[in-house]
Assembly symmetry: C2
């Protein structure tokens, strides 16, 4: 999918320093040339389909890249946690959707504080969530926008029928301090038109009940490129597209050359002819399998697999008898992880590069924001 870029905005330029000369391992390296291309591809697709892009920052957790998403054309960003939204608001980002049921007085008071400096939207899938929000937001001058989360097939959170969606939408619309803004779903990947049909039915049911549905929001990177124009969807929340990863290669959504995030690792032991150990284990790659065989893709070594991880060791299976592929202690390898988002959460800092050249190191400011 990679092609020549023509971005209007600027992420930092490369230096003349080769990152291979200064990086230590294990380390996350992010290629901004690839990031820029991924941003452009996604924005073009959202523009083509008439969707407002609200990318999910969980993949990168970096204010710098959230700004790049906005400058590429996104209308706002999506976060999963208030702590993530606080980091992004601190950086000056204004339009934030928290696509998660916010529950508990501590979190809702933080939400109220955040609402003074950001244009917030949240979601809800039950009367209990709505009641919690209402207790803190009632009588506030600027009502909190609330989307009804719909379970369109993912079987995670969400109301499970159009009737439930309408009932909850009416409750929100009738609650002081809250504003019913529309419908939201995180659909099952590859679910085809099921989620779109579900949301279209629920929207019609809301309209019949006299409710205005300003937003119909859906998400998921792989399906964005499968969609045709659909007048009901107004907002799309892609996440992984900015980096891509092995799971998206497996889903046919991208190629190796579209993967911006890699884990750089050193060979620490070659104990026998079948086994090579590297210093990237589950503390660097996570244990996420996503239904795949093995724990990542070793770039340039298609016959090497990663059958197991310890916390600090990647267990590579190879054939050290093949002279061309023979690895030695100290060799540096590049691994594309199964799941990029969780890797971003494991590292305090990442190294930005362009091709072979170093750009800068960045603190992953929104990592570890569990609350």
């Amino acid at each position: 999918m990679l092609k020549v870029t023509n971005m209007k905005y600027k992420l930092p330029a490369a230096t003349k320093i080769r990152w291979a000369d200064i990086v230590d391992t294990p380390e996350v390296v992010i290629d901004l040339d690839v990031v820029e291309q991924n941003l452009e591809n996604c924005q073009e697709q959202c523009d083509r389909l008439g969707f407002a892009a609200h990318p999910h920052i969980k993949t990168h957790k970096l204010p710098l890249l959230a700004f790049a998403q906005l400058e590429a054309g996104a209308k706002g960003i999506t976060c999963q946690k208030i702590g993530e939204a606080e980091v992004m608001a601190d950086a000056g980002i204004e339009d934030i959707l928290i696509s998660y049921n916010v529950i508990g007085e501590q979190k809702i008071r933080r939400l109220l504080a955040l609402s003074k400096r950001a244009n917030l939207t949240v979601c809800a899938d039950s009367r209990a969530v709505v009641a919690g929000l209402a207790r803190i937001f009632k009588n506030k001058a600027r009502p909190l926008k609330v989307l009804v989360e719909c379970d369109t097939g993912m079987h995670r959170c969400g109301v499970v029928s159009a009737e439930q969606a309408v009932a909850l939408a009416k409750k929100i619309a009738a609650t002081s301090g809250l504003h019913f803004e529309g419908l939201m779903s995180y659909p099952a990947a590859g679910g085809g038109n099921t989620a779109l049909d579900w949301l279209a039915d629920a929207k019609q049911a809301c309209l019949r009940a006299g409710l205005k549905v300003a937003v119909v929001s859906t998400g998921g990177t792989p399906d964005l490129y499968n969609l045709n124009t659909n007048s009901d969807i107004t907002q799309y929340r892609p996440g992984s597209y900015i980096y891509n990863d092995r799971s998206l290669i497996a889903a046919g959504a991208c190629g190796i050359e579209d993967c911006a995030l890699s884990v750089i690792t050193t060979v620490v032991s070659c104990p026998d002819a079948q086994r090579v150990m590297v210093d990237a284990g589950s503390k660097s790659l996570s244990s996420d399998l996503f239904g795949l065989d093995g724990h990542g893709l070793v770039v340039g070594h298609p016959k090497i697999t990663i059958p197991a991880l310890s916390e600090e060791h990647g267990h590579l299976a190879t054939n050290q008898k093949s002279k061309t592929a023979k690895l030695k202690v100290g060799n540096i390898l590049r691994i594309i992880p199964n799941h990029a988002c969780v890797v971003s959460n494991l590292f305090d800092q990442v190294t930005l590069v362009r091709g072979d050249y170093f750009v800068s190191r960045q603190a992953v400011l929104a990592r570890g924001k569990t609350q």
Copy 2:
């Protein structure tokens, strides 16, 4: 295994504040009463067997608990990464084993700096590792102690025969700036006497070659309680025992009451009669399965399982039609994770408690030290 404690040292006392009144979720809560008992049980067993305890701090990553381990009787600590050892040395801990091949000039220069303020031991399993250490440490007044790492059945790192162990030990002993200190293994769990026999053979082979073997080091929490006195082992490196977890319950090494670390979580959605969603997902519990079914143990709810995790959602399977077990949005649950060590790496802070009462919050200073 939990019993009345009689510790000589003092971890901080409880306050009169109930932690349930102030904790937000998801959050890691660590019960110091249970920690103290686990420290005492382990130290008693090491004393009985005549082992010097060198507990691995990867499980807790907290200087406070490393000091508690030393005060309980440990002779030093074990780290996997130089970054972890730097944090522990900053806190004033002197005797540190880095049980990992240290490779690359940046890391070995940091090791040299660290050796000025800590009594360091490292390991090596190849001539390449020894050569790297020697390049920086040669001609230093205080030689670096090096253990030969042995693969006694784990099939991770380590020399694979007693002959290889002797050859590498001779190389270390003959290298300027390095001192051959002994043998080290991380054995396969439940391997019985295989690892002990392996190490006994290798030690005899070293002695026959005229080498002094000051240390024979092994590790692993579950097997510590299965061992009988064995004169060859001098050092034991238990890790998980301080917290325990669901994998150790499954291994028969402890009971629920011996688990010091829990993830506290809130029910965020009850979409249907079989499904309850909580706010602890793989970003809180990790995806580590360790061969178990499901992603943790919901304390007090033995019929509830955790069949799946999203990043920010735990998917609980239950029977909401049973009135006694019925959960509601906002309920707080306590989950014992499959693997405590990786949970410590996911949280910037943890909450220390004693029973129902709050002690303090602690930054997990050695988390995220990938290098």
